[in-house]
Symmetry: C2
Subunit: 397 residues, 2 copies
């Protein structure tokens, strides 16, 4: 039986407020970033399973008979999804030749793909297929590129296996799944994240699945019903940083100055709660300039607080300064110490201003994209609804 | 009887931590700034009282008989010093021709001088004398120049009137008064401040009198016994600002975002307390690099908090950035929104680095002085202990 083609996409993630504070029990707001990862699953009759990841120059094929060996020990469909199947992981690592040592991006991506594929199909007949993934997200910058990848894999493979339906109706451009199916996509995406990250928070795959905005507090993830779509610039300073070192630095500073730092975390918590309230108001009353004034003030205050925590960086100061000369407000997003920043655009911000700002930021040596936050989570696409340049890449292999 | 010559000086003031937060019931630390105001009181036989204020181009003389008229209603030495003598104020305003409208710096300085002079001498024979004052402090920048002036006036005139002794012994360069005499100087200086400022906090004259550092909390002023002398740069951005507008802006922001701003004030309070503790440790244990590390971190954190309060200014950002390129840490001092900033120098900071930094700041259009904080309060000088260039000015008139 040849599988039907499926096109899916999932968004990246940005932290709007609460990065670092969340480690210390405060609220964080994670939002979908409309820089998406696209996946094309194509049924084939080659008797092979192929994966093409042109972003990381990875193009691999395996013989179905070979793959079948890996799940010979299976006696039924796996249902337990809270933990990884350690035996399958062990076999897969051996299969792709990484029995010891750390995995690189390429190996982790393959491991996640084969794991989900074999888990979903291993108890029956393995289908012949080719998966091609293309992402607009830079990797390793805290924008949830691995989660968007895992969400796409989960959605496409769950559809291919018939576990969930393909929601796209004739004539639709895009379609989303019902809540129950999204839960399932999210669970399988989380497994992919566990393979890639070891101990993920679950926020990234939840944002990739549900989109919009999520409230994250003490390990609990609550998708927020309605948020406005906000125009932003996403800037990658291209300054590399270690999240682990930055998190440890904040912890040290809190330990060194508890009476000074604890109130700062409380203030960040209040920023997240205020922001959530304002965004919620923006969906149920006419959006005014004052809504944006508040969002800008919250961005500025939080950026100062993040500097107090010691996770700022001269490149981020430059980002804030350059955008402020155009009347735009920026903060770092994620770990800081370089990495990425977001700049809020107002609905009325003229595209000439946006273009000039993007150019100024590129002149600083940064990557910069005009995009939006708060958009939809994972969705199925009709091929026609996929941007032409992305479709061209997805169909190339 | 001809009065003996007296040379006195009093320091300016800087807020080390807690500006603005103090308005909302938090601790502030005020320190003496070793940019001083010098006063020379010279006994004469001209039958005139003369005052020379070359900083503000003010040179005036009055006939003793004329002045005597102003206190004809006196029947004894004034002892009550909690309130101003409204009748004397009224007569003085009339005398110098400012019965209505606001007083300029020059008129306020004259009013304060004549008020203290007549209050101290009015019940007896008015002495013939010339007072010359020269200040290293820029006026109107929140550095306590009016308080330093009032403290000098009070100390010199109290000595001249015999109310307190001249503490200088033969062969001494400088000398200070006992605690009781300092209390008296401070009280009279506060009267001068009331004339000049209307409703002063009393912090500036207390710093001018006691020097070192003062803890200011909910209107209570507590001089701290021992603090180290710290080298600093004092920079005047020359950006004019209105303290009243800035204070109102902070209040508005607290009212708009109470849950966000209240913790920031708490954090500033903790910064002041931590700073006080570190400075106190520095006087009783060997000073280490770590002491300075902490002082620098507190400066950085507080500067971010002041930006959160909305009292930063691009000129202050430039100050911080320029000094940081030399590894030096700065914050605004006082009202912010321009005005002045302080930069901490380490004991080991090379004078070439200091000179280069001063030059860089001057190139930004700022005034900049290398000075120190935590030095002595009001003191009497032997003429030889007054810097030559200051002595030359004081003796010119």
């Amino acid at each position: 039986m040849q599988l039907k083609d499926v096109f899916v996409s999932a968004p990246g993630k940005a932290i709007l407020h609460g990065e670092h504070a969340v480690v210390h029990g405060k609220v964080a707001l994670a939002v979908s970033l409309n820089m998406r990862t696209y996946l094309h699953l194509k049924g084939t009759t080659t008797g092979n399973v192929c994966i093409n990841l042109p972003n990381i120059d990875t193009f691999l094929c395996w013989d179905l008979a070979e793959l079948k060996q890996l799940v010979a020990y299976y006696c039924g469909k796996r249902e337990e999804m809270k933990r990884l199947d350690a035996e399958l992981i062990r076999r897969l690592r051996e299969f792709i030749g990484v029995t010891n040592g750390n995995l690189d991006t390429c190996n982790m991506a393959i491991l996640a793909f084969l794991y989900i594929y074999l888990s979903l199909f291993g108890s029956g007949e393995l289908p012949s297929l080719t998966v091609t993934v293309w992402s607009e997200l830079p990797t390793g910058t805290g924008l949830g590129s691995s989660a968007a990848y895992s969400v796409c894999l989960a959605a496409a493979l769950l559809c291919a296996s018939g576990t969930i339906p393909t929601p796209l109706k004739e004539g639709d451009n895009t379609a989303r799944w019902c809540q129950e199916d999204l839960e399932l996509i999210n669970s399988w995406a989380f497994q992919g994240e566990m393979i890639i990250h070891g101990n993920p928070s679950g926020v990234d795959n939840a944002v990739g699945t549900w989109g919009g905005m999520l409230r994250f507090l003490a390990g609990k993830i609550i998708p927020l019903s309605r948020v406005p779509l906000l125009r932003i610039l996403l800037t990658n300073t291209r300054v590399p940083r270690s999240t682990k070192v930055l998190v440890a630095g904040v912890k040290d500073k809190i330990n060194k100055y508890p009476s000074i730092m604890t109130p700062v975390l409380d203030s960040v918590d209040a920023i997240s709660c205020t922001c959530e309230k304002v965004l919620s108001e923006m969906t149920c009353e006419p959006i005014t300039g004052e809504h944006y004034n508040i969002l800008e003030e919250l961005i500025d205050i939080n950026q100062h607080h993040l500097n107090v925590m010691g996770v700022g960086h001269p490149s981020l100061d430059i980002l804030c300064r350059v955008t402020l000369t155009k009347g735009l407000h920026s903060k770092l997003t994620g770990a800081g110490g370089g990495g990425c920043g977001i700049t809020l655009l107002r609905p009325e911000t003229d595209s000439s201003v946006v273009q000039a700002t993007v150019q100024d930021l590129k002149d600083c040596g940064f990557d910069c994209w005009e995009t939006s936050i708060g958009g939809p989570g994972v969705q199925q696409h009709s091929p026609l609804s996929v941007k032409e340049e992305v479709l061209e890449i997805l169909n190339r292999y």
